[in-house]
Amino acid sequence: MTTYILRRLGQAVPQLFIISIILFALMQSFGDPVATLGARTPPKPEDKERLRRMLGLDQPVYVQYLTWLVGNDWQKLDMDGDGVPETPGPRKGILRGDFGNSLVTRRPVLEMIGDRLPNTLLLMITAEIVIIGLSLAIGLYSALRPYSFFDNFVTGLSFVGFSMPVFWLALSLMYLFAVNFRRWGLPYLPTVGMFDPQVGKTPWELIKHMVLPVTTLAIISIAGYSRFVRASVLEVLGQDYVRTARAKGVRAMAVVWQHALPNAALPFITLIGLDIPFLLAGAVVTERIFAWPGTGRLFLDHTERADFPMLMGILMFIALAVVVFQIITDVVYSLVDPRIRLN
């Protein structure tokens, strides 16, 4: 097992290296970060030129990549624009743990991701628990009573949920439960943010503010997941060993819990394992609409600004998470299913 994990980690190094080159090349088509710096007051041409020089954006792409990768602290940079380098470079490079600074906020990328990650994890893990719990329950119930009214009803609802655009669902929920409920004098939920400034950051405030975004994420995902659970449970229920168990007179519930579910769960674990890294990435649209300060919005905001150190930081972080969680999924697989041997 240890050899397997080490080998997989070893393979990941060139993988991440190639990913970083491809991503960095793609970043070049994102536009000019300096042009968007002033928002509605675009920077003056002479300021633009000075900023490009000082931020190193006037360098060839490969130099910028190398600086990002291994830093420039052994070089001197020309900060005053007289053509003579005089100031030592500040960067250490990602290989030495320096993800660089955002071009627009000038703050360290890692610090900025660190600011947002807890918020994203709070939202996404809560949503994931709700999604897994409900989709298991719904999928299982549907599989045990296939083509019943409940199954058909839920199938219909899944399609509706699955095909709803996130922004539309999010805004509809917001208008119904936060705007109209308040107008109608009913108990209502807040529109945006994580807490009401007049009350302060209390756990109850946080829960109230999480209801709508979690519901949005859940509605969209439960649809697909519950169908997935239903299909794999149905498939397992048709297997020979289930028939044998039933023939032996094992109780119906025991067949489901001891035989069907553990086997049906295998593909589900794969699905969740692949999902977890993307929990870190956050939910771009949901976070934006509910003004939830997570990594999804961080990524979106900085994409619009062509802030490549920030984007590279987030993407490499997710790439790393994907690699790690794939390995973890494989390991969990071998633990759950004795037929699978990793070595």
Partner: protein, 553 residues
């Protein structure tokens, strides 16, 4: 005796009242209530050195005052200075090259340290230092030769030539030397100073409390400010989605919102608690016509053709159909929203397609090949009409294309993403390189100062030899050039207004700018919050007077 007793008693009561009043004055002010504001963009930084973003700049009305603010009529209100320098009070030297700022001696930073002239010298040094990757050095780099502390409360600024736009561009902020000098000394730069993200020491009615990235910024009432706030806190929430901001305003989750569009007004005001206020910060939507012989369509060089283009465009219908005409009427000059510089005698070019046709015929642009578009010497009258990708502008383009077709002008509609659209000559900016005939956007000078003359100066024409040139229209008219140069060094307000009216008239006659609509900022203000007087130049200038009910227990 009895009368004496009464007198004594009254004196005693009076004395106790006076004492009580004095005691009250000396005690710390009490702050109550919260103002919640939504921003659709998060400031990149709170340090004015590292961003020129409008959303960062307007927070400084709360926590980092400059020499003066501008009131709801955009008139300067002294904050750190005792008065606005003029030639009469000796603040402006006879040659206009020296301005002396007198500082108040009773203001302190939020940590109690006194404000001194050294803070301003330090601010100038930090802006100009090559060790700091500051966002903008305008106008310090080009116009100022030195900033000196004449005494503890006097700052003297020397200019290379008189600089008319000084009122709105210089020392709109100041940095706390006692906080930042040690950081600069230790790190060699302010680029990574903690103060940029958490400016715990400021100078204004509120003081910074916390900034959670992506979520909110909180400012708390500052007891050390000369005009103490009434509110306990200002809570700025970052809500990037327009529709979500609208919901938050309607639900009453926010007291002030901005960057609203005119089609939202009715919906927001429906409940009666929200008032939508149009406040101009100088932006007007307009057309900038390319008249550069090297890059423009040959027809653009004829003033009568330019006039015909304006007459062939029914901007009145456009503002009626696509906007709210009461909020966004058709504007005339570039300075309509920068009072008093817009020329009040001018009327928008009327919609007169027949006159447009006549002018085009007269200029020799006729449809000789019967393809529906006019032509001359084998050149079709198809104009490149460019703008960015904003949906509203695309709709305007489509309507204009249809209107022009009625008089035989073809339109080649082009849209560029905003970063490309504003790029300079060397980065392939379509405006800078003159790859257009008509460019549409909303722009402003140094509001409330009108200064934007670089846009039309001969010396600023952008080209391969002058890639930083700001004159993307290729305008070079001797008389206009002289007027623009003269206003830039005219410090007398009345004289400058006269010059601007002449400039506007000349640009109107030459049809260099065609106004489309006035583009004020739309703010929502919930009636829960009282005393709000928004200004275009420094929106929250009177935040110390705002009141809101205390939260229910």
């Amino acid at each position: 005796m009895k009368r004496n007793l009464y007198t004594l008693l009254s004196l005693a009561v009076l004395a106790s009242m006076v004492l009580a009043a004095c005691g009250g004055g000396a005690a710390a002010p009490t702050f109550t209530g919260t103002a919640t504001i939504t921003f659709v963009q998060e400031p990149d930084s709170l340090s004015p050195l590292y961003t020129t973003m409008w959303f960062s700049g307007i927070t400084r009305d709360f926590w980092l005052k400059g020499m003066w603010s501008f009131d709801e009529n955009n008139q300067p209100v002294p904050e750190l200075a005792t008065e606005i320098p003029t030639s009469e009070n000796g603040g402006i030297s006879a040659d206009g090259k020296t301005i002396t700022y007198k500082l108040r001696d009773d203001v302190t930073w939020s940590d109690g340290e006194p404000l001194t002239a050294d803070d301003f010298v330090f601010t100038y040094d930090m802006i100009m230092s090559d060790k700091n990757v500051v966002q903008s050095r305008y106008p310090y780099e080009d116009y100022i030769t030195s900033v000196t502390a004449t005494d503890e409360h006097t700052v003297t600024v020397a200019f290379s030539e008189p600089f008319a736009a000084w009122l709105t561009t210089i020392f709109t902020y100041v940095l706390p030397k006692h906080v930042l000098q040690p950081v600069f000394d230790a790190e060699g730069t302010l680029d990574n100073a903690a103060w940029n993200k958490a400016p715990t020491v400021g100078i204004g009615p509120f003081a910074f409390s916390e900034w959670e990235s992506g979520s909110h910024v909180i400012f708390k009432g500052n007891a050390n400010w000369v005009k103490p706030a009434k509110l306990e806190q200002v809570f700025i929430r970052i809500v990037p989605d327009d529709a979500a901001q609208e919901a938050a305003i309607i639900a009453g989750d926010t007291d002030i919102g901005v960057f609203l569009s005119s089609d939202q007004i009715a919906k927001l005001e429906e409940g009666g608690a929200v008032d939508v206020v149009a406040v101009s910060s100088g932006y007007d939507e307009g057309w900038f016509l390319n008249v550069n012989p090297d890059t423009a369509h040959p027809a653009m060089l004829d003033v009568n053709v330019r006039k015909a283009i304006a007459l062939a465009t029914d901007r009145f219908t456009i503002v009626n159909d696509l906007l709210v005409a009461e909020v966004n009427p058709v504007n005339v000059t570039f300075w309509d929203a920068t009072s008093p510089y817009g020329n009040p005698d001018l009327e928008p070019y009327p919609y007169d397609p027949e006159e447009a046709k006549r002018l085009l015929d007269e200029a020799g642009w006729v449809d000789s090949n019967g393809d529906g578009t006019r032509d001359k010497d084998g050149v079709e009258l198809v104009l490149r009409y460019i703008t960015n990708t904003r949906e509203l502008r695309k709709n305007v383009q489509a309507v204009v294309q249809q209107q022009w077709s009625l008089v035989g002008i073809g339109a080649d509609l082009q849209n560029h993403s905003s970063d490309v659209y504003w790029n300079g000559y060397n980065d392939g900016g379509p405006q800078a390189q003159g790859l257009y005939d008509i460019a549409e956007y909303s722009s402003v000078g140094s509001f409330p100062d009108p200064e934007a003359s670089a846009n039309w100066l001969c010396s600023e024409i952008s080209s391969a030899d002058n890639p930083d040139g700001a004159n993307w229209q290729g305008v070079c008219i001797e008389e206009l050039d002289a007027l623009l140069q003269q206003q830039a060094v005219t410090l007398d307000l009345d004289a400058r207004v006269v010059l601007y009216h002449q400039i506007a008239q000349l640009m109107y006659d030459e049809v260099l700018y065609v106004g489309i609509w006035k583009d004020p900022d739309l703010w929502s203000v919930n009636s829960r919050l009282q005393g709000v007087k928004l200004s275009g130049a420094s929106p929250f200038w009177n935040a110390h007077e705002w009141t809101a009910p205390a939260p229910a227990e």
